[in-house]
Amino acid sequence: MTPTPRPSLWEYANPVKFMRLSDWLLPLTAWLAAAAIAVGLVWGFFLTPDDFRQGSTVKIIFLHVPSALMAINAWAMMLVASLVWLIRRHHVSALAARAAGPVGAMMTLIALFTGAIWGQPMWGTWWAWDPRLTSFLILFLFYLGYIALWSAIEDPDTAADLTAVLCIVGSVFAVLSRYAAIFWNQGLHQGASLSVAPGTRMDWAYKAPLYVSMTGFGLLFLALVLAGTRTEIRARRMKALINRERMQG
């Protein structure tokens, strides 16, 4: 009934093949991630000069920008994985989206904390309703809802379907909220822009460790999602075995 599988990317959607692949890929990415993050952060913390305007707070960028980047990319990955699940019904895809949820939420939390701590000396307050910070807070709420929906539904396929629908609708509303936040508080905090705008020249003394740190966070995300997906596959297999036991007994 099923056509003979030809070698393609989709083969890794088979749980067994995915387990075999991730068996050696996971340690590799994990160690690379640890190394890149260590190098990037040590370089950034100890070996970069102070900014003439922001002083040593510029060092927070090596945490803030990579985590913010991964917070958004994690949601984007969840969106793609949800679409793959809804269209091609690959279980690994749905489970990878589930595994990415908590990782993305934690990245959002790190971006929020570092943003707030950075804001304290710059704006004189721990929390400013800056549009960017506000959008990240809303993104965090979306992550919470997504994770809660996954854990609330008993049947795994139903949970995968419903969270995928939520992820797609949520993506649209997250983008809308982003524009709403800008509209809502435009012009109040233009002075203290958090990220380095594309136009401004940034010295390689900052760029190099930033890129290393960004690579590290990306690899860490990959490693954690691989590990989480492996766990979800095992949990799913466990559930299937328990169900079968119950059916036979």
């Binding site: 009934m1 099923t2 088979n14 749980p15 019904r89 279980h91 049947d155 795994p156 396929d157 596959i233 799913r236 297999r237 559930k239 299937a240 075995l241 169900n243 079968r244 059916m247 036979q248």
Partner: protein, 205 residues
Amino acid sequence: MELVASDLACARGGIALLEGVSLRLTPGQALILRGPNGCGKTTLLRTLAGLQPAMAGTISCPPETVAYSGHADGLKAVLSVRENLSFWAQIHDRAGVGVAMAAMNLTELADRQAQNLSAGQKRRLGLARLMVTGRWLWLLDEPTVSLDAASVALFGAIVRTHLAQGGAAIMATHIDLGLNEAAVLDLGGFRAAPRAPDGFDEAFV
């Protein structure tokens, strides 16, 4: 009008329950499903009704030609018997509320709210709903629960009328409805083997 289901496999909660179920039903025929609890009678009926997808196999009948009646009757407690029935009649764009009430002996209760009906009366109202759907194939899941002997006889009569008018019915029931012409299908023989086509939980086993 004919229902042909071939080589159906059904699952509940991601676990295959039934496989290789084939059945054929022409107007005027009735089929009674038997089998132990949990063998997949409800699941098969819901699959035939289009409420859940079949794991494998084909069903010739589109869901638009089928009337399903499950464990719950879909009654609104604060609406009267007549209002409940007229609502479903309007949804299906049909008349015949009076006939349906008469057939299930509900005419005297027409203005009583559904919350004040006994369990058996509620069930009768739920079954009367089938008559206002105008669908040719009735799928009935334990239709006689909480009905007394007289009501079971009434119900047997409306099913027989339905069959005589060119309808068909599939019932999961353990009670003898007096429909001697009905065929019996024991689902016990179609229990799915533990290893089923991939795509569900079994892919992980």
